[in-house]
């Protein structure tokens, strides 16, 4: 892939040293210059002292994944050098604290690589600032080296620290300038990769994570209730909605457990709200009984399941796609559900809105299946157009007064299986719902006939959802339909696969990418059609090729090749390209 006006950066240091914040600042600096940005954080599950690093890319064309190689590294500690110097390109550079790391350090990269020694500690002292300000100095130095200019960073620093008062703002702006100037004064020769802000008009973009996009989608969809129990990597969504709660009139509740969270959510939804909860695998386990109840009582709830590396506690802060089958089959007994897997930030936003609409239209639970890599990475995305948001509450009856036939039948056996829905508190009707099998009015009924009829009713909804798939992009194909080879994937691997496809196409290979978005109900026909006659290569972040089994179960198609990664780390584009070539050899 031709890489012009494009850069790959790494910022590394100790846990607790503000690595992620620094990465985001730099990302925003590039965003303001009209560039596309991808940034992702790698951190272990502890608060201080472990090794954190932020991988950042910026380019004039869209970027969807971290790059394999690093052009410029900001090493805030020696460990960063040690761990990452092999990843530097041969003419890359490394910024390091010359007060802490000796120029003789064996960890410094080999010659060829530029060594940008900046006396961070001394400058921090000069500024009389806390140690963490060294990050800002280093960012300034990086911008100097890249020839990017400092204006955007200054702007961002002003906005970011405004709330903390003028002193903090000017301390940071000064720090950035010092770093910037130091670079200009000391590092004469031009660095291999220069990065320039784009001039003129360019598209309006945002830089945000999947968690934030899901949160924005929830707000846009009119979600007014979230009960959750903190769990990495889903917590940031919860925190985001908490921060927005007063502004948007949302009630947020930190529940005593995931069991409480899902039951509170179902309670709020039964009472008529758009309500959601969010968690990761371990917490989702505890929600499965509630999920089954939502299916039985036909209560619309949305659950964001943010996957991380399992099983069990696993690697709490790393990524995986190991819960697909679990999401599809969680909860005892049989009931219709919707499982959708966004693959990028825009889809996180849009599919969250769709999730709320689907939940209410079909009165059944919807699972948004995401993962750490998608929901904790920052990606530039065209600003969402809120004008396009539409809300469909399905067969929800107005709650002022019930005027239909009495008694009101919450579970009326209707052709499409979707009974008109009333919420408690309505004058003129009582609303009954039962987690046990029930008759039309909602009271218990365990006769054989009723049991069959009610199961059929619920599954008629499933057929309706299947039909409704045509209104959505249940799958998306990227690249030429006529390609010989089709890569198949879902969720967060989308970004890296797109990058790999682009590289391989540039090399003249004929291949395309099938992204599957609806996992349940499964768009079997679309997938069959797309895969017919192709050499298929599955790309998944798990060990057992779960999408592969699902495709086989649903279509009979057996994917020919599997590229799997299950060490908690996301795929890198070049690595993926190499594995694809290996397969196609």
């Amino acid at each position: 892939m031709t890489r012009t006006n494009e850069i790959s950066l790494l910022i590394g240091g100790q846990a607790g040293a503000g690595i992620s914040a620094a990465g985001l600042l730099l990302g925003k600096t590039f965003l303001r210059g009209g560039l596309h940005v991808f940034g992702t954080i790698d951190y272990p599950s502890l608060i201080r002292g472990g090794h954190n690093f932020y991988l950042l890319r910026a380019a004039t064309r869209p970027v969807f994944a971290q790059w394999d190689k690093i052009d410029l590294m900001i090493a805030l500690d020696e460990r960063t050098l040690e761990r990452h110097r092999e990843e530097l390109v041969s003419d890359g550079g490394v910024i390091f604290d010359s007060d802490e790391i000796s120029p003789d350090s064996p960890n410094l990269p080999p010659s060829g690589v530029q060594r940008y020694a900046v006396p961070l500690e001394s400058i921090v002292k000069e500024l009389n600032a806390p140690k963490v300000v060294q990050n800002t100095i280093a960012l300034g130095a990086a911008l100097g080296i890249l020839g990017y200019g400092i204006t955007q960073l200054e702007e961002i620093l002003q906005e970011t620290f405004k709330a903390k008062g003028d002193k903090i703002v000017s301390m940071n702006v000064d720090a950035a300038r010092k770093g910037y100037n130091y670079a200009h004064e000391h590092f004469a020769s031009e660095f291999c990769c220069q990065l320039k802000p784009r001039t003129g008009k360019h598209h309006q973009h945002m830089l945000l994570t999947g968690n934030e996009a899901v949160g924005l989608g929830a707000i846009a969809a009119g979600c007014k209730f979230i009960a959750a129990y903190p769990m990495t990597p889903a917590s940031p969504l919860f925190h985001f909605l908490i921060a927005q709660a007063e502004r948007f009139g949302i009630v947020t509740l930190q529940a005593e457990s995931e069991i409480a969270a899902i039951n509170m959510t179902i309670g709020a939804a039964y009472a008529g709200l758009r309500a959601m909860t969010s968690t990761s695998g371990g917490g989702f386990c505890l929600m499965t009984e509630g999920l089954s109840m939502a299916g039985m009582t036909e209560t619309p709830v949305v659950i964001m399941l943010g996957q991380r590396t399992g099983p069990s506690t696993g690697l709490p802060t790393y990524t995986a796609q190991g819960d697909l089958h679990f999401a599809l089959h969680a909860g005892h007994g049989e009931f219709p559900r919707v499982v959708i897997a966004p693959g990028d930030i825009r889809e996180c936003f849009q599919l969250t809105i769709d999730a709320f609409n689907l939940a209410e239209e079909f009165q059944t639970p919807v699972i948004l299946l995401t993962d750490k890599h998608l929901i904790e990475s920052h990606i530039t995305t065209q600003t969402f157009d809120t004008g396009l948001v539409s809300i469909d509450r399905g067969k929800l009856l107005p709650m002022e007064r019930y005027t239909g036939p009495t008694p009101y039948l919450r579970f009326k056996l209707v052709d499409d299986g979707i009974s008109p829905r009333l919420v408690p508190g309505t004058l003129g009707a009582t609303v009954h719902a039962d987690s046990a099998e029930h008759g039309e009015q909602g009271f218990v009924n365990d006769t054989a006939d009723n049991t069959r009829q009610m199961a059929d009713k619920r599954f008629r909804k499933r057929s309706e959802i299947q039909k409704a798939l045509s209104r959505y992009d249940a799958v998306k194909t990227f690249g030429s339909k006529d390609a010989d080879v089709t890569l198949v994937g879902w969720g967060s691997t989308k970004g890296v696969v797109l990058e790999a496809v682009e590289i391989l196409q540039e090399e003249g290979r004929s291949l395309n990418f099938l992204q599957i978005i609806f996992m349940a109900p499964f768009p079997a026909q679309l997938v069959s059609k797309a895969l017919k006659g192709k050499t298929t290569i599955l790309v998944e972040s798990n060990r057992t090729a779960q999408l592969g089994s699902l495709i086989r179960e649903q279509t009979g198609h057996r994917v020919a090749h599997k590229i799997l990664r299950y060490d908690g780390r996301p795929f890198n584009p070049l690595q993926l390209v190499a594995r694809i070539k290996e397969v196609l050899k």
């Binding site: 927005q244 949302i250 039951n263």
Partner: protein
Amino acid sequence: MTSLTREDLKTEQPISWCPGCGNFGILRALQTALVDLKIPREKYLVVTGIGCHGKLFNYININGFHGIHGRVLPFATGAKLANHDLIVLGFAGDGDQYDEGLGHFPHAARRNIDVKLFTHDNKVYGLTTGQTSPTSPQGYKSKTSPGGAIPTPINPLMLALASNASFVARGFVGDVTHMKELMKAAIQHKGFALVDILQVCITFNRAQTYQFYRDRVYKLEEENHDATDLQQALKRSRETGDRIPIGIFYQEERPVYRARLPQIKTQPLIKQPIKPTKLKQLLREFT
């Protein structure tokens, strides 16, 4: 329709409790309390657990949700926050609330969520055919404790008091009128209320019978109990032998959970329209 009659409250569902079961008394007390209170029917929401007690859902014609075992409180919490115009009444079993659902109980209490919890405390798992429950007395024999229950029983009132519940009471199915008044007091209380009800299970619990309780219960209000004194309430809650107090152990005025949520100071959430909210300003923060 502001005045409710007992007829209004009936459903057509055949009652499947054993004849003589204490649950009949609870249903009757509930019906008469609701008749007394003269609040429109649509204002109420009944949430029940799974067990014999949970069948009450089928027998009272007000809005209801028969949820899963042990989860009355979180469900009720969600429903109440969604629509605080609803008076949310929870009916749970002793197995349901003090085994499976115990983890929710102190939290509902300390939140002071405005939900009322009535526990059908028959000291046995009724519906699953008579296993030992967490409130079964030590030594209690059943098919799950043929050698006699080993642990000391859960003391629901003491737990509630230790969890900062703002209304803690005990009723007895042998005195429906007294129980009805407790229910009314609980409903009128602002905040979380527990009424633990000594319910007789005539089929499985041969120890805690009507007579057993009749011989032992006394009314707190007849013995100058000061329900504003927590230390006194704790002491009374520890009386378990020959004299078993019923009535209000403790009551305190404390802001309810909602009072700290500006979002729902006035209009219930459910009545606040859903519209594609103006997100533009928020979106700008990401640019």
